[in-house]
Amino acid sequence: MNKVKKYLIEGIMALVSLLFLVPLWMVLINSFKTMPELSEFGVWFPKEFLFSNYLRVFTEGHALRGLFNGIYISTAIVVISVLVSSMAAFYISRSTTQLSKFMYVVFIAGIIVPSAVIPTYMILYFTHLTNTYLGLILTGSTTALPFSIFLYVGYVKSVPRALDEAALIDGAPRWKMFFQIIFPLIKPATATIAMFNFLGSWNAVESMLYFAGPDKWTMPMTVYAFYGQVYNEWDVIFADIIITLLPLFIVYLVGQKYIISGMTAGAVKA
């Protein structure tokens, strides 16, 4: 009986996984077909593997520029958001003052409040940061703050306070104490947050449209060269999606084993 149940569960999970895989498989396999063969979006192999779609993604879609911009901007956002939010979270979760409680609420509100695109654009305009990498990086880091702080605050709580006090007796400066002793201990949360922020900033579209011109656009924007209201070149769109997902896939492979450990204290015990 138990064995039957076990196989049943295994079967169900295999089926579920299939459901999750099929859409991605469809994109991959159809990206090697061209329009005439693509009269329906099937899941079978193409008659012949064609790379012409990929060639067009790089020549007409400026994929190299998109990849470079995406990696540059997203990496910068990850570094800034991790440093800045871990420090803020350390203060928020440790300090017992009213200020720290208030700040926690202020930051968490950012998860709820929708972003105000045009007013943010105005800020960039008046600080002369429109169409600059710096502007995109700073706004992107800010967008990443609330959720990062939320996860970090929970995680920092799992690090014993005694460590802070011990470090202080050594007489080290406070920032040194934080980065030498606390920061290494919250590495699982850092891995999770870094991964989410990389994915999030790589996928940001709205900010790209308004805050920067196409020379700063990241990979997901390149699809618009092929996707219009009337002209949908699905074969090239599929290839573009694959190139867009490729770096994310690498980040995901490296990062996914940290997801659960990073969340354990971060989201669940908070």
Binding site: Q98, I118, Y121, M122, L209, Y224, Q229, V230, Y231
Partner: protein, 446 residues
């Protein structure tokens, strides 16, 4: 406690002052209209000797008609002048808003290609334009692209003045015994019945692309002829469209076509519709003669079998509709390469260049005396005029500010009508759309 409140007060004041400064900065540099026209008449024909520059051109991924023209032009212009034009392609559903925001803040590209249309973008954002082409500009088009405040041209239109009508399959028509032109609404219904009998779907409206409104838009000229002050009254909010019996009847007649639509009308795109007419799955699809260029790409063998004809939803009048729409270049006042951008426009609009571009946009261009490629569809439409049909420039030609037919309110509400919105609600939704747009434009009377 006191310290806490004072802290909050201080931070609030800081915030307010910051916002204040933001608002103040915004209002300082208004009305920065430049009065000197960027004119470089002489340099249009000889290569520029200056160091090559790169300037940017923003446009959107629309029907794809301006795409081959722009790409070819940019390539040729680089060979001619050494200057590089960098094409920036925006998503078409967001282009207008993005470019309006960037124009307003002075962050736009050096050159923009939006539409030969003055109603969606404040013309104060543009440099006045001049060049050899300006003299030959069609007067009706010239009126459309000229700024009211100082009578300067601010947009240089390019692309043919398309005819609007029903693109139809000649073979299907012959088989069903239908002959163009269908001069009344009743003729249209009779033709649909005949086509239905031979097992072909009479009409495709491509509702996915909101193309359903086109049939009504083209077919409505009778109404505005019969009720000559209706358009003006709607524009000034004196008459609500839902209160006008003629308008209600027009919408009802449009909806009555539903039983003649191809079954996939809700999901079909404009491209699907063209394909279906080409292959004879559908008899008719209302659109513009610019579609000839699109069909040339994939269905050149079928083209002799496809025609275009005027349509009407009225009982007593039909006319050949031409449109003043199309693409157009403008130079933002904040452009960093005004001179080079103007040189590009002048080079682009030389008569022999227009002739070259017209292979992708065949028909009459809005430049008098300029020889362009014509498609058989242009001949067919002008043939109907020779047979005695009146021509009109569509509603936009007769009423230069009658732009609301193009905004979301009209097309969107008719799209909804075909999937179940009652006629009365459709008219109200259109009115709501018009009211939103006119309020945001601060039109008097709204």
């Amino acid at each position: 406690m006191i310290r806490k409140t004072s802290r909050i007060a201080i931070s609030l004041m800081l915030l307010l002052s910051l916002i204040g400064s933001v608002v103040a900065c915004g209002s300082n540099d208004s009305s920065s209209t430049t009065t000197t026209a960027v004119s470089t008449v002489s340099t249009a024909t000889e290569p520029v000797k200056k160091a090559p520059v790169t300037f940017t051109l923003a446009t959107f991924n629309g029907w794809g008609t301006n795409d081959p023209i722009l790409k070819t032009a940019i390539k040729e212009y680089k060979e001619f002048s050494g200057n590089t034009v960098e094409l920036q392609l925006f998503p078409d559903d967001q282009f207008l808003n993005v470019i309006r925001t960037k124009l307003a803040s002075g962050d736009a590209t050096d050159l923009v290609d939006i539409a030969a249309d003055q109603t969606t973008i404040p013309t104060t954002y543009y440099e006045p334009l001049d060049g050899p082409w300006a003299a030959s500009l069609n007067p009706l088009m010239a009126a459309k692209v000229t700024r009211a405040s100082d009578k300067k041209i601010t947009t240089a239109p390019y692309s043919a003045m398309s005819y609007l009508g029903a693109i139809y399959n000649k073979e299907v028509f012959a088989k069903a015994g239908v002959k163009p032109v269908l001069k009344t609404y009743n003729d249209l219904i009779a033709a649909c019945e005949a086509i239905k009998k031979i097992g072909v779907a009479p009409i495709q409206i491509a509702n996915k692309d909101q193309a359903g409104h086109l049939w009504q838009y083209i077919g409505s000229s009778y109404l505005f002829k019969n009720e000559s002050d209706l358009a003006a009254n709607i524009m000034s909010n004196k008459v609500k469209p839902q209160d006008d019996a003629g308008m209600v009847e027009l919408f009802e007649r449009t909806l009555s076509l539903k039983k003649y639509l191809k079954s996939d009308y809700a999901s079909a795109t404009g491209m699907d519709a063209l394909k279906q007419v080409a292959t004879g799955e559908v008899a008719m699809f209302a659109n513009g003669s610019w579609c000839y260029g699109i069909l040339q790409k994939d269905f050149s063998d079928k083209l002799p079998n496809i025609g275009i004809m005027p349509i009407t939803l009225g009982d007593d009048s039909i006319s050949v509709t031409q449109t003043l729409g199309g693409c157009g270049f403008s130079i933002p006042t904040t452009s960093k390469h005004k001179v080079e951008a103007a040189e590009f426009i002048n080079w682009f609009l030389q008569p022999e260049k227009i002739k070259e571009w017209s292979q992708w946009s065949p028909g009459t261009w809005p430049y008098n005396g300029v020889d362009t490629e014509k498609s058989p569809w242009d001949d067919e439409m002008s043939g109907y005029v020779d047979q005695g049909l009146t021509t009109d420039l569509g509603l936009e030609g007769q009423f230069p500010n009658f732009d609301f037919v193009k905004n979301d309110g009209y097309a969107l509400s008719i799209q909804s009508m075909f999937v179940g919105k009652p006629v009365k609600d459709t008219l109200e939704a259109w009115y709501k759309g018009m009211s939103d747009v006119n309020k945001s434009k601060r039109t008097t009377g709204w």
